[in-house]
Structures are given as C-alpha cells and as structure tokens.
Symmetry: C2
Subunit: 754 residues, 2 copies
C-alpha cells in the first residue's frame, strides 16, 4: 500500500483529529474549538484549511480509510509519546512533523485546542501504536498550594496542630480490648487538654482562645489519628464542656469550665434515653424541685428510661443530665442539670447505676454506658440556668415564655456539635480517599497481554468514576462546613434558626457521603482495604454511627425540610398557607419560564459546565419540591387529616426536599468560595471540581429531573458522559488533589498508601 504523505500543515493536525474522532464525545462545541483554531492558524494555506474543515463534519465524519491512514502515518513516525510534557499532544504532533519534514515549529493554536478541550494523555495514549512513556501524575499543581487554599484562615491553627499530633502518643496501633483502648484514648484526651486544645473554644478566662472555628478544624484533623479519640474529645469538651458554656451561667463557668477544658474534671452529656432515641422532648427522666431543702431530685422512672449510649460514662465524675424539670408540680420542659456521678475514689455515688454498653462496631475506645438515677439529690444551683431558672423563692422563670421556643433554643446549642460531626465524617472520607487513590496509583492489574506492564488501577474508567466525584465532593463540603461554622459563630447574627436548618441537612448528607465514600474506598482497595493496618476498616466502623448520633439523619432531614417550609412563614392554617402557596407558585413559574425544550435538551459543554445551569437546576429542584410538598400538605389538611398525620404521609417527600436543599446549599457556598480564589490557575481547578460535584449530583437525581421534564433524555445522557469525562480530565491531578487534603504523613500509616 502506498503511504499517503501529508503537508506539514495538515500533518500537525492529524494526531488531534485522530484523537477527537476516536473519542465518544465529539460535540458541536468541541468542533467549534478546533474550527476557531484552524481559522486563526496563519501557518495554514487556504487549501489546507478547506481540507481540515472537511474532516470536521459531525454528520459526515472522516471515512475509516482516512482514519487508518492517519494512524499509520503516526505509527510509522516511530515517535515516542512522553506523557510528562507540558503539552504532550502538541509536542508529539510537532515531533511527528519533524520526522517527515524539515521544519516543525511549536504551534500555539494546537496548544489551545489541547488546553480548551481538556485532552489528556489517558484519552489517547493507547490509540497510536507508539511507545508511551507513562507518568502517574501531572505536576501542573502543587499539593501544598491546594492545601493552603483549603485551610484558608485556619492555616496556622491547623499547621500547629498537625505538628503537635506527631507526638508518639498519637501513633496508630491495634487495640482490641476495649479497656486497653479506652485507657489509651483517655491519655490522648488528657494530653490534648494539657496543651490547650480542649478549652480552645472556651473564653480566655477559662483557658481557651474562643476559637470555635479553629476547634472544628482540629476536630477534623483528630480523625486522622483515630475516630475514638475524636469522639471522646468531642464528648468531653464539646458536649459536656459545651453544655456548661452554653446552657450554664457565670457560677457554672467559674466552677466547672476551666477543669472541664483541662480534662481534670471528666464529664458526660446525658441526653438520649433507651426508650426515646430521637425524641428528646419525650424523655422521661425527671428533675423535681424540692422547696424544703432547695434541691433537685433526679430520677429515672422506668427501667427502660435510662440514659443510653452516653460517651465518657465510665470515666466521668459528673454529667450534664437532660430531664423534665418539675417545679411546684408543673412540668417546665426539658432542662440540663449537673449531676455528680462518682466520688474522688471513682466510686459511684448513691442512687447512681452505670452499665457499660459493651463492644460496638467501632469507636471501642469510647466508653459508652447506660445511666440510671434513683432519687438523686443535687442543689438547685446545679441547674444550667441560662434559659430557664428557679428563683430564690422557688419559682420557675424563663425569659423565653414559649416552652417550645425555649426547648429549641437550648437544643440549638447542639448545632456546633453537628457541624463537628460532619467535619469528622469529612475527615474520615478524606483519609479513606487518600489511601485508596495512592493505592490505585501503585497497584497494577490485568492487561491485554501478560508480557507487558499491567495498567494502574487509577487508569480504569470505572475506578476514576468511583473515586473522582467523591474527591470533588470532599472539596465542596470542606468549604461548606468552614462557612457554616463561620456563620454559626458570628455573634452579630443572634438568630440561629436558619443555620440550624442548614446544619441539620448538611450533617445528614455529609455523614452519608462519608459512609458511602469509605465503603467505596474499601471496595476500591479490594482485600487490602479490609485489613486493619490499612486504616479504612476502622474508619468504616467508626464513621458508621455518625449517621445516627447527634441527630438521626432521617430525622434531621425532616427538620431541615420543615425549616425550608417555615422559611416561607407558613403556619399551616388555610389563610397563611394560601399566601405561601401563591408565593411559591409565582417563584416556580418564574423559574419554569426558562425551562423550554431548547433548554431541557441543551447539551453543549459551555452550558453543562456553566455554574448558572447548576444553580438553576438545584434551585428549581428545591422550589419545586417545596411547592409540591406544601400543596400535598394543604390537601390533606383541607380534608381534615391532622397535621401530624399529614406530615407522616409526606415523609419521603420531606426527605427529598431536605436533601435537595442541602446539596444546593453546599454547591452555592462552594461556588462563592471559589470566586474568592485569587489566581486563575487554581480557581479553574477548584471550579472544575465544583462542576463535577454539580453534574454528579444532578446525575444522581436524573430520574427526578427527567420526570419533571427539566432535562430531556439527550441531556441526561450528556450529563452522564460529562461526569465520566471530567473524571478522566482530572485523572492527572488526582494525586495532587488528595495530597491537597493535607493529611499529615505520620497519620498515613497504611502500608498500601506508601
């Protein structure tokens, strides 16, 4: 067969054309990029331009024969593909031209095609029959720089803490016996306290720096050491100490807070009861005020009304006990009271019974226990009385008259804890992802021949698809949780109801995300992921319960959804409700006006990658779900169904709204965050992660969007393909992306990650 010789002008484009036509994704916008490059390329003659353009007809693609000619021309050049080049395809093309012709300048127009189409070596390195010099990772970005962006204003706190946890006391080890494990964790907690980390969020008068935001970031970092440590730390300083700080007044602060922060006074947070998991308002423990000796009598009425799953229960000297406060025969609702549990010899005080909860799926370094109170007497001042007190005359008084509002105000102080739990889950997910990605960049498997080197696991499309969106999500949630904590800590915004709704939703989706991620990483590491030494197994066991504690996710999502509804000031009576519906309907039709057949089948890259599309899609979903939910509830109520039952009937709808709202919130928060990134190079990468997150999430709920007619079948498929494509595009940077999480080397003990 005669070898077809191309002119240098044509030849330089051939590797690009070959790649573009080999791929699944020659879209109109991609053709545009190439057309524009050709038009501007002054090195080409008009004839050459005509020929090149003739090969760009999507409806009339080049013939297979032409295609084979291209391939042969490239192969015959014998040029080696170097993946490590800055512009590998452009450089490769240049060299091919050099082989056949005398001159071969570097062509900026080709470089632009390579950059704008996001063509990566792993798109094409198998297409030419040429020798390839592989690289596992590109060096476009530096992990340290990504990490600095993620850490933001907390960089100093985090850096200092990461240095601190290099102490050998934090070395990872297997602890199978709960007693031993608990001792180790207790030592670690005390050591952290001695170094000021316990009191961090407390005012400086009590040994702290008042840095609740910084506290949240170190909380996440603790996960890199151990899950049990993280939780025990959170119980002692966040829940127990936090209840004194937030629900107590000066007397309590002065008496207890410094010792709590130093861990010289160990305490627990006794809220949940066996019989009433998520229903705090229904707890049965009572605290009855006895006027004759100005005391409170704490009592567990039934065997099943004990405090359940209380962390630190076996080590504690004292507990913040949540109980129905009864004053002068009247139940004033749930309040917290400090109840001593043990004496200095660590013997149980009279009337207190505590049992070990025993072994758990994870967190066996945390001493969870059950607590019963049998008519235990404590002085009146032990009532944490910021929101409700008993006066010297023995009369109950609260500035918040509505008992409902009072209850939720007290519970609102738990919101910080929920952010921390989400952060800890995120930390677990980051750790698992780092291990799984590093493993996938070393591990080779299969190939078409046993003679040549097997492929890296990370080069499998399925592997990219299973890990990359999860890495992108970690970036999104990181920025979101930072922002949430900032808002929560903003003293100028005293009304925390909105942030409560938001945190309820975010805690749910992020802890679920963390579990899914860790599981995916376990499977992605195969049997190796199952070994304790590789750390993912422990993460799995520990993080699992995050979906349940500090508020069961399903309950919290319903809370979030109800918050969204009440954002529209709905009181579910017909008058107020009608106006809500009218408002919702109006907003929705404004939105819908933009959704037409052209929009719902718009599949070009500019559109699909445009944050405006993502924002619109998320906003539409939240509004639509809110509207239809409100309509359904109204219909039930009109028919006389009691409101509680009506909400029960729409439970799955509530969950869907709670999720939709939270995803939207996360994406919008992240988008704002990326807009503040100064240099363009990094902003581009962070925004690409945001795009992947958005399309991945829209894709996950594609059936809903399709049902609504918001997207058509073609667009749905295009989104799926874009998700895959983005994963491939991010493949060269995946190593830097996980290193950018900034997990200290000494915590990455997993042999498969080294």
């Amino acid at each position: 067969m005669e070898k077809k010789i191309y002119t240098p002008g044509i030849l330089q484009y051939i590797p690009f054309f070959y790649v573009i036509w080999s791929d699944d994704l020659v879209s109109a916008s991609e053709v545009n990029v190439v057309e524009r490059a050709i038009e501007k390329d002054t090195s080409l003659s008009d004839m050459e331009k005509v020929l090149l353009n003739s090969w760009l007809q999507v409806k009339n693609p080049p013939k297979n024969e032409e295609f084979k000619n291209w391939k042969q021309t490239i192969s015959n050049s014998g040029i080696k593909l170097l993946e490590g080049e800055t512009y590998p395809l452009t450089t490769f093309s240049q060299k091919v031209v050099c082989h056949y012709h005398e001159t071969c300048p570097f062509n900026e127009h080709l470089k632009n095609i390579e950059v704008n189409l996001g063509i990566q070596p792993n798109h094409y390195n198998h297409l030419f029959e040429v020798e390839v010099e592989h690289i596992a990772s590109a060096n476009t970005y530096v992990a340290e720089e990504l990490s600095v962006i993620l850490k933001g204003k907390h960089a100093q706190v985090i850096d200092r803490f990461q240095e601190f946890i290099q102490h050998s006391l934090f070395d990872w080890d297997v602890h199978r016996q709960k007693e031993d494990f608990r001792e180790v964790v207790l030592e670690q907690v005390k050591f952290l306290a001695e170094n000021g980390y316990g009191a961090m969020a407390y005012p400086s008068a009590y040994g702290g720096t008042g840095d609740m935001e910084g506290y949240a970031t170190i909380f996440e970092n603790l996960m890199y050491v151990d899950g049990s440590l993280t939780i025990k730390f959170g119980v002692q300083f966040g829940l127990f100490g936090g209840s004194i700080q937030k629900l107590g007044t000066k007397y309590h602060h002065d008496t207890y807070l410094t010792d709590a922060g130093k861990a010289t006074l160990l305490g627990c947070f006794a809220m949940t009861e066996t019989g009433h998991g998520s229903n705090v308002r229904g707890i049965k423990t009572t605290a009855t005020y006895r006027k004759e000796d100005d005391s409170l009598i704490i009592n567990t009425p039934g065997e099943n009304d004990n405090k359940e799953y209380i962390g630190n229960a076996l080590h504690s000297k004292i507990a913040s006990v949540f109980a129905q406060l009864i004053v002068d025969g009247k139940n004033e609702g749930v309040h917290a009271i400090l109840v001593p549990l043990r004496n200095e010899k660590h013997e149980l005080l009279p009337g207190i019974r505590i049992e070990d909860n025993g072994y758990k799926l994870g967190l066996n370094g945390v001493d969870n226990g059950k607590i019963w109170f049998n008519q235990v007497k404590v002085p009146r001042e032990n009532l944490l009385n910021k929101y409700g007190k008993i006066t010297d005359d023995g009369v109950y008084y609260s500035e918040i008259e509505n008992p409902n509002k009072r209850f939720f105000t007290m519970l609102g102080t738990l919101v910080g804890g929920r952010i921390c739990v989400a952060r800890a889950g995120l930390g677990g997910a980051k750790m698992a992802l780092t291990i799984a990605v590093k493993h996938a960049l070393k591990r080779r498997q299969f190939n078409d021949s046993i003679k040549i080197q097997e492929d890296l696991l990370m080069d499998y499309p399925t592997h990219q698809l299973r890990l990359t969106p999860l890495v992108a999500s970690a970036y999104v949630y990181n920025a979101t949780l930072d922002k949430m904590m900032e808002i929560y800590c903003d003293e100028s915004q005293p009304d925390k109801r909105k942030v409560e709704t938001q945190v309820a939703g975010l805690k749910s989706i992020i802890t679920w995300y963390a579990n899914t991620t860790i599981q995916e990483c376990r499977e992605a590491c195969g049997g190796k992921g199952y070994l304790l030494e590789n750390r993912i197994a422990d993460l799995k066991g520990d993080v699992d319960i995050f979906t349940t504690f500090e508020g069961d996710n399903n309950v919290l999502l319903q809370l979030a959804a109800k918050g969204v509804l009440s954002d529209f000031k709905s009181e579910f009576n017909s008058a107020g409700f009608s106006s809500v519906l009218k408002l919702l309907s109006q907003q929705l039709s404004d939105k819908l006006a933009t959704v037409n057949p052209i929009y719902s089948n718009k599949v070009d890259t500019e559109h699909l990658y445009n944050p405006k599309f993502h924002k619109h899609a998320f906003d539409y979903r939240t509004r639509r779900l809110t509207y239809t939910l409100a309509m359904r509830i109204r219909d039930y109520i009109k028919k006389g169904v009691p409101s509680y039952q009506a909400f029960l009937k729409v439970q799955t709808h509530l969950l869907a709204l709670g999720k939709a709202y939270s995803i939207e919130l996360a994406y919008n928060t992240y988008l704002q965050f990326t807009e503040n990134i100064q240099d363009e190079k990094h902003r581009a990468l962070f925004q690409k992660l945001g795009t992947l997150f958005a399309l991945y999430e829209i894709r996950k709920d594609a059936s809903w969007y399709l049902e609504q007619g918001y997207i058509g079948g073609t667009k749905s498929k295009a989104i799926r393909q874009r998700v895959e494509r983005l994963c491939t595009e991010l493949r060269p940077h995946i190593h830097v992306l996980v290193d950018g999480f900034g997990i200290p080397d000494n915590c990455l003990t997993a042999p498969i990650a080294n």
Copy 2:
C-alpha cells in the same frame, strides 16, 4: 350545624369513599373497582347508585364540605376501629350503619373493594377521629408455611441442620482476640466435620452424600451462627476439599478427600497473590517440572508474588497452590498442585514462609495469611491433574488443547463457591432484616402529643420503604440461588459456561444487595444496631468482603456482560460481528414495536402489577444495553482501537449490562418459582413480593428508562408511588415475612429482636 343523615345504602360506602379520596392514589383502575362493585350491589337503589357514582369523578372530586360531612358522620358514630378484623373497613362500615339505622348486613361488595384495592388499616386508621385498636401484625399468613415454601426440597436437610446448630458449641459470643476466636471457629469446623457436614458435597465413597445443593443451604444457615465459621468452613471443605474433588483424580481423592471432609487434614486454597488480586492468569508463582527426580519445584519469584489472604493458612498442613506450570521449559498455564506446608508437629516445612494477615474489619475468626515458597519440592503426583497432566515420560498432556479454554475450565470449578458466597451474603441480609423488623415492631418513637402512645417505627412510611423492598428481594434471591445451584449440579448439562456467566453476575448483585441491606438495617436500628450484642455490626464487618473475594464484583460483572455478548456468538471481527449486530438490532426493534406513547405512559395498576410489564422492561433493558454496547465496541474496533482498549473504554457500560442481565435473571427465575406454588393464597403473596422487587428495581434505574423514552414522567412517578404503596400493603405481613426466612430462634440472640 345540621347533621346530614345518609341512607343505609349510601352510608355503608362512606368510610370507603372517605379513605379513597384521602389517599394519594385514586387512579382510574381504582375507580373502576368501586364502580363495578356499586353496579353489582343489588342492595342499592338506582338513585343511590347515581349519587355514589357522582362522587367518583376523578376530574371532579367531592367538595371539601361533603368530605367533612362524611368525616363527622363517621366520628359521631363513636364506632371503634378494630384492626384485627378480617375485613376491618367493611366491618367498620357495617357498624357505622348499625349505629344510625336498624339493619346493617355485611356487604360482600364492600369486602371486594377492600380486598381488590388492598386497603389496609394503616392507610386509614388515622383519618377518622375514632378510637383504634391497633395490631402490630396480621395473622393472614403463618411464618412456618412461608418457610416451607422457601426451603422447598431442602426442607429436611435444613431442619436437621438447624436442630444440630442448637448445640452450645455454636452459641454466639464476643471474641476480640483473633487467636481465641480462631480456636473457637476451628473447634466448630471440626465438630461440623465429625457430624458429616464437611463432606456433604463429596461422593459417598469419601464420607459424603453428594448433596452439593443441600451443602449450599446449610452454608447459608451457618451465617446465622457466625460469619467466620461460614468462611472457614467454605475454605476447608469447599475450596480446599473442592479443589481436590474437582481438579484432582482418583489418586488424590483416595489419598486426601476423606481426611479433608473430616477436617483431620486441614488445607488451604492458595490462588490469589499480593501483586495480582483479580488477575489469576497473571500469577507469578511457578511449578517447574524437574525430570531428573520426577518432581515439581514450587517457587515464589519476587517478594510481592506471595500468596495473599489465604484462609486457613495458619492451621493448615497442606495447600492447593495455583502456579504457572512449566514443563520442559514451556509455560503450560495455571495449574493447582498440592504442597505440604507443615509437619505433624505443626512446624513449617523447609522453604515455606507464612505470615499472619493480622486483624481485619471482620472475619477475625478466620486465619488469613500470606505464603511464600522458596524452591519447594513436591512429587509429580501432587499435580491436580484432571485437566492437564505430566505423563510418566515427563511430557505435558491435556485433553483440552486450547490453553485458554483449559484455564477457564479449571476456574469454572469455582462457580459453586460463588453461589455459596452469594448464599452466605443472603443469609446475612436475612438475619439483619429479621432483627431490624422485629425491633421496628417493638420500638416506638415520636407522636403528635407526648401524652398518647408513640408510633411503632414500622408504621413510618420511610421505615416501610427502607426495609420492605429488601425483604422482598431476599425472597427473590433465595429462589434464584436455589435454582442456580440446581442447574450447576445438573450432570446432564456438562457445559457450565452459561451458568458461570449467570453466577458471576448474581454473586455481584447479591453480595452488594447484602451489604446495602445490612447497612440499612444498622441505620434503621439506630445506635442499638451499632452494638455488637445486636449482631448487625458483626454481619456488616463480615459480609463486607464478600463483594471482593471469590472474584471482585466489578470484575465479575464485566465477565457476566462479556458472557452476554458472546451468547450472541460474537467474535469481534467485522464479519461475525455484523451478523451479531443485525440479530440484536432485529430483536430490539421487535421489542420496541410495543413501546409507544400509550405504553410508556400506561399507569393503571393492572399494567404496573403485571409480570408481563416487568419482564418486558427487564428484557428491553438487557437487549438495548447489549446492542448499544456491541455498536460502541464495533465503532472503536473499526477505528483501529485494540480490542482490550475498546473494552476498557466501555467499562461502565459493561457494568450496567452485567447488572441489568442479573436482575432480569433473578426476576424471571423467581417468577417461575412462584408459578409452581400450589395454593393461591401463598402464590398471591409471593407474587406481590416479586412485583415489589420488579418495580423497585425499575425505579432504581428510572433515569435510564426515562432517557430511553421507555417510560414517561407520569409512569415513572406512578411506579414510585406504587413501590410506596406496596410497602404499605405488605406492612401487616412484614413480621410473618421475616419469620418466614426461618432463622432458628437460638441464633436470634440480639436483645433488640426479643
């Protein structure tokens, strides 16, 4: 306000109308059922019929005022709703009529409405303001009878085995130290062997009963005792013993099989290597034939080429080692060789190195280890030589000339093991479901008032939705795996390739299902599910790895998909492939002919509940995915992309096809199974479970069906609603359904299940 009095004829229908219009799901077919009943009801006057029919206009529903009248009439009657009645709504209606009028006969037409619409007390018990006498479960079905149907022909084997495992040696306990745990499990394995269960699948000459199918069912039952026991049992008798039985010849059977079955010879199955997890063909261990002393030299070439994760490695005396067999300098491919590991004193033999794999996420009662061989010599007869032997002249000979085919024939013997792993996963899922459902039938949570009794967890729609489809799936997979094992064991069908493909897919979807289910149950039980004593935690840790061992699920699904493709006799050359495509295209257009706008928006109950619809939907999906996959591969190959790379590019497509094919297979197998159930009452229940499974699976992939235009938005929503509705309809039977799994009481030690 004047109370409106209705005639007895009208009045008896009012509770029904009230319920029907209160519900979300008044579909055309539901209206039909009522219309027909009214038409046939001779107790009604023509006038009454007209009035009743006027209240049945979907487009013009009864006014709210009418609705409130109904409600008031019912409430004023003061009649108590007894959920325990056989036809609670009909009986309730009858009593309401009695209250206002003199006569009130039981009306068969109303009964028919109640039955045909599947109206359950939990649809309406909150709607009337009347006193309700709740029941947790209906007694329509008896668990024992469901269990008998599930057990089928294996009833006797299972019953005897369940009695056997009541022995105190099988009592559940916490074992944290792997050494102790392994000893306990070893004792249990030996005890099972002494009682004939180890050899069960072997021929009677070697102590067995040749009952491989029965073996699989007891394998599942072992999960109720402990996961580690199940796996160690499988390693010793299934993998080690099985390799001798299936890959060896008479000499090996006579020498080893009886002892293997009695567990007097402990052995392991050394296939996987650290460097080559799923790529068995690429293993590096060599077995080189040395003619001078007629021996085989087993060797691990590199430090990373050790046998990895080998169960029973610390207790074994001998191993079935998979190695590249080299005879006269030629590599004859992977073969298995029996290699002694330890002497009678349990000391390692020269050249053998074994290391403990250490702690794992679960299965810590199984002694997994790594094994290295340093030029270990064994006699030639240790080669398991059924499919390839070395003759006395030192020449390699196999009846299967094609090395590829030989390799896959040997691996085919693993198929039985994969069925068993899926069964074990299913056992774990059943156990978790039983615990979670029993818990949900005791546990109460929240209500509109703290004064009245809180609702049962199982009465929450979200709870029904999260557990019921998983219960239905367990029934489907149970019947499917029974059938698969029957086919696998059918000696009259020597060609096992088809069943291999099928089992590869089923093992994947069922072990994933098991993990999802156990996780859902953990969360459904809240913090209680996290405690080891409640068993779900261990199940989670143990079953997790099922997705990886005996073939990684992702790898197996691709195997299944390739099997589907090659069912169409495709050799991926253009000639053979074109005809495949033509065939596929033809089949697809036959299918498509039935899909038109009317079909894709058909939402009536008859259609959605009709197995013909489910079969069509599953069949369409498999065919469509096969066709588009074949097209894509052809396009790549036409462009000159090497076949290995082409398959890499379509990896996610392969996975989708693998899943689709397996779901279809499971549903069709189950459907056949239900058709053989003799009595109508039970057949109806089993078929309802099948319907829920089918709609739930179609729903899970709704985005795909919508993209294809196979279903429209309305139909997609209707399917979602039907899934919720079926869960509600099955609510009264959920207790009997989990009891029908037939898990022995002595294994249900979880305190929350008691």
